[in-house]
Symmetry: C2
Subunit: 276 residues, 2 copies
């Protein structure tokens, strides 16, 4: 069986599993313009937690900070369960890569919380917007044309597609789109982490101007368990993302991912540098 | 001059400033029911970064994870600038306290990003809701009656006040309120961090049922610089908080803080455990 590109990207070896030290490598399949797609970097940070033998429960939240650009090639991830309680566990995660001097440099930091969840009362106060079904929406490439990672997603924008003309005409920052892995792949936590970073930069949409940008920090909250992930399977997710505040070189983005059946699976926020 | 209670709570000494190791102590002024108010815990984590001699710029984002309850008494905070770039700096932060065995235990983890910001294009896509001015809204205590920290804030709920009756009648999870420190204190980054955690638990409002809860992780993005903070001074902020998804023991909250003049100063998200 052919290995899915996301599974290749998430592949981790470990030199010493007892200390939570993993090794992996960037993948050409998810290359962005000047480094790997940040969504897969976040996903592989989470994957180190998911692969750790001491993991308790499943992810509740993960924060990943992009401290520097990643180079093509191998990296190390150190995932440490710094505190394990009865039903929750707190993780610190750090990715490093050899720098020009041959010494390891921290490229990415993060924290995560995992938990054993129990059935409780529940509800949503953020219902899925009414949109046409995935089959009724045309697939488009909604990122930079030369970015390979764009090919790894089936993205079907309903509103807020990438501007056709960079003419400064933008007046809103919301995107709604159906998305899933291409090839389809059953949804798991790592894929959900990657998908929460699938939206092209809000500042490009808001200004119809592709200024240089870079995500600085992303936080995703997981509202799903294994059974819900299995229900979603290879179905499309509805992703909604909106900019909130753009000021002095940074903007934030609030995003949500629903299953096609309308269950809110994940909510995610990020803060992004922009140049001018 | 009398020291403001928040400044007492934020007071840090350092045994060895070169390694970013600070010591502080919990404060009875901000005591919550079973430990210190999480907002001040997050604020003092950020304060260690702000006090660090190697700090570059000002905070852009901070994530704080509550790994265990804090006991009354002293704690240590280790703040490390793991990566310093030309205009951004990435921090890891860890708080520990002596456990019952006398050994240090990690109670709180976190990361932060600071940056030197420059004037750029900007806009908001999240305008302040239209609300009556602070003077037209009555002050109320909108947290648990026995929590001392509630007294440290002047909170004036416009909608979504704490339920008068715990009768299971809740049907929405949004609060809008004016808030400021009481006594008034000029706004700074640490105060803004604390205020981003000032909202009583969304699940209490949504269900009109005060089930046991605990914030697990909070992330705040700062959209301000020192000049904007100075403009706000001791004025009220408009705080808006809303639950998004409540499922299997956890819910998330999206929050925003505007100046009275309508500038969006901070956006914040948290994920919270609830018992049943």
């Amino acid at each position: 069986m052919k290995t899915h590109p996301l599974d290749k990207t998430l592949a981790l070896a470990h030199s010493d599993i007892r200390v939570g030290l993993f090794t992996g490598a960037t993948s050409p399949d998810y290359w962005n313009m000047v480094g790997p797609f940040g969504g897969t970097t976040a996903a592989v940070m989470l994957q180190a937690v998911l692969r750790h033998p001491d993991l308790l429960g499943a992810p509740i939240s993960a924060t990943v900070n992009y401290a520097s650009a990643l180079s093509e090639g191998p990296f190390e991830i150190l995932a440490i369960p710094v505190r394990t309680n009865r039903s929750t566990q707190h993780w610190t995660i750090q990715m490093s890569q050899a720098g020009p001097d041959g010494k390891p440099h921290v490229t990415t930091t993060g924290t995560a919380v995992s938990a054993v969840r129990r059935d409780t009362w529940g509800t949503t106060d953020l219902p899925m917007p009414e949109v046409p079904p995935p089959d009724a929406v045309q697939r488009q490439r909604i990122g930079p044309a030369r970015a390979e990672w764009i090919q790894r997603y089936d993205m079907r924008p309903i509103i807020g597609s990438i501007p056709a003309e960079w003419d400064g005409s933008g007046d809103a920052s919301e995107t709604r789109m159906w998305l899933r892995d291409d090839e389809p792949r059953p949804l798991d936590f790592a894929a959900l982490m990657a998908m929460s970073d699938c939206f092209f930069p809000r500042v490009w949409l808001r200004r119809a101007n592709p200024v240089p940008i870079g995500t600085v920090s992303i936080t995703t909250y997981f509202h799903v368990d294994a059974a819900m992930l299995a229900e979603v399977g290879t179905g499309h997710l509805l992703g909604v993302a909106k900019g909130q505040q753009f000021r002095n070189g940074y903007f934030d983005q609030a995003a949500q991912l629903w299953s096609e059946a309308g269950a809110l699976l994940a909510t995610s926020n990020q803060i992004v540098y922009f140049k001018e």
